[in-house]
């Protein structure tokens, strides 16, 4: 059934359709509506789940860890400072191999206090072992949430669904909310082999000497890597059932493109609009949207970028003392495979709008340049 819903409620509907069994959450703008609607859905008896009110995000993730250990399908949502507070337990949940799915609404880190979008909150959690999916539409948010449970439960690695504050979380779009019966056909109930069981007790997470610690890390790394072909396969499978297929990256007019923009989140939709405008002026330009950040789709990035003459990465995040985080990964993917110059642009921090004209000006600047002369280009900063 098609409905006009905001990004936050697309998550609530997705969690309901995935038949989550435990929701533990603490409110934070701009995430709160996600669990607000879910609490109503649970209270009205439309979803058989435990809704646990906790005193902090740290406790929300702890409750999810407990519930997932008992074999429940769990969900939570947060933003910014809340995600940062969870940090310790993000490591724990991933290394304990619990397939928790969480939504993070990208909100800039304070100070200065901000409620608007940028990606430094989620990207700061890069090395926790969580998979990260960056969405560009409310439909993709709902679909990715359902797919994430299937992928996570197969490889036993948690997933983070990431969407921009306000430009997606509070923006109303038409979303096809699939039938429960179809979702049930796609997503079987969670059957956890290692669940807590009083008849067969084990202790989890215990002390491991240097003899074996590294082997657990090796296994975890391979599990995250194994998710990459699975993400592709599940994206195709989902497409067959629901009519909307997904991949690790989302190329747009890149085949003959001399300049390729690399973007993520809602900036990617704007970039596509800008690409169409620039194409009408005869410019050979395309856009590669990064949908999956961890596991990083190195081969796909290479495939779409190595033929380009110039690559522009627009990062809505910054690694202080270096440059944008996606730019860093893209350079790493191309190293030793292609000499294409990579221009690292920082734009839209703290929710500053990235307009099609913004992208147009970035492209003009790069067109005039032979090679990058700076490690980092700040867009529209009052220098």
């Amino acid at each position: 059934m098609k409905k006009v819903v905001m990004g936050n409620h697309a998550l609530s509907h997705g969690a309901q359709l995935a038949r989550v069994q435990v929701i533990a959450a603490y409110p934070i703008t701009p995430q709160t509506q996600v669990v607000e609607l879910l609490s109503e859905i649970v209270a009205n008896g439309k979803l058989k789940a435990e809704f646990i009110k906790v005193e902090s995000e740290h406790s929300a993730m702890a409750a999810c860890i407990g519930a997932a250990s008992a074999g429940a399908r769990t969900f939570t949502a947060t933003s910014s400072q809340g995600l940062a507070l969870m940090h310790e337990l993000l490591h724990w949940s991933a290394a304990a191999r619990l397939p928790i799915v969480m939504a993070n609404i990208n909100r800039a880190m304070a100070p200065p206090w901000s409620i608007w979008t940028d990606q430094n909150d989620s990207l700061s959690q890069r090395d926790t072992g969580w998979m990260q999916f960056y969405c560009q539409s409310n439909q993709e948010v709902l679909d990715t949430l359902i797919m994430a449970y299937k992928i996570s439960e197969k490889v036993l690695i948690p997933s983070m669904i990431v969407l921009d504050a306000f430009s997606l979380s509070h923006t109303y779009e038409i979303v096809d909310i699939p039938d429960q019966e179809l979702v049930d056909r796609y997503l079987p109930p969670f059957d956890y082999q290692y669940r807590l069981n009083v008849d067969d007790p084990h202790t989890f997470g215990g002390l491991t000497t240097p003899d074996w610690y590294m082997e657990f890390r090796y296994k975890m790394h391979h599990a995250v890597n194994d998710a990459l072909p699975l993400i592709r396969q599940e994206g195709i499978e989902f497409g067959k059932l629901f009519g909307r297929a997904y991949d690790t990256v989302d190329p747009y007019r890149v085949n003959d493109a001399e300049i390729v923009l690399v973007t993520s989140g809602t900036a990617a939709s704007t970039a596509r609009y800008a690409v169409d405008q620039l194409r009408r002026k005869g410019k050979k330009i395309g856009n590669l949207r990064m949908r999956v950040f961890r596991p990083f789709p190195f081969a796909d990035v290479r495939r779409y970028l190595k033929k380009a003459k110039k690559v522009i990465v627009i990062d809505r995040n910054i690694s202080y003392g270096y440059h944008g985080i996606f730019a860093q990964e893209v350079k790493s993917a191309l190293y030793g495979h292609s000499d294409v110059p990579v221009y690292a642009f920082i734009a839209g921090l703290g929710g500053r709008d990235i307009f099609p004209e913004t992208i147009g000006r970035i492209v003009t600047k790069v067109e005039k340049s032979k090679k990058p002369t700076r490690d980092i280009y700040w867009v529209e900063v009052k220098e």
């Binding site: 290692y194 084990h202 989890f204 082997e215």
Partner: protein, 97 residues
């Protein structure tokens, strides 16, 4: 995963479960030797309220014939039972005395 063996020798990563977990119940791993204070219950004052049993963080108090009995194979001597006992009839005595 191998089970019910006193000594398990893993060869490589394929033998390991995905996350670290004990192969058996921790009942097979006595930890009483960590203790340097031993709880001693004065049964003449004990009212069998079982508050000690409820509070023991290591489930090291068993109920035997309606009375709390410290399981010294697992008691680490934390003293929570003595602290919580409403009759103050659990004394922590130094091990070796």
């Amino acid at each position: 995963m191998p089970k019910n063996r006193s000594k398990i020798n893993f060869k490589n990563v394929r033998d390991l479960p995905p996350m670290v977990m004990s192969l058996r119940s921790m009942a097979a791993n006595p930890t009483g030797s960590w203790r340097n204070l031993r709880p001693v219950i004065a049964y003449k004052d004990c009212i069998q309220c079982m508050i000690c049993w409820k509070f023991c963080p290591d489930a090291a108090i068993d109920i035997v014939d309606d009375r709390p009995v410290i399981n010294l194979d697992f008691c680490k001597g934390c003293g929570i039972c003595a602290e919580e006992c409403p009759k103050k009839c659990i004394e922590m005595v130094k091990e070796g005395k």
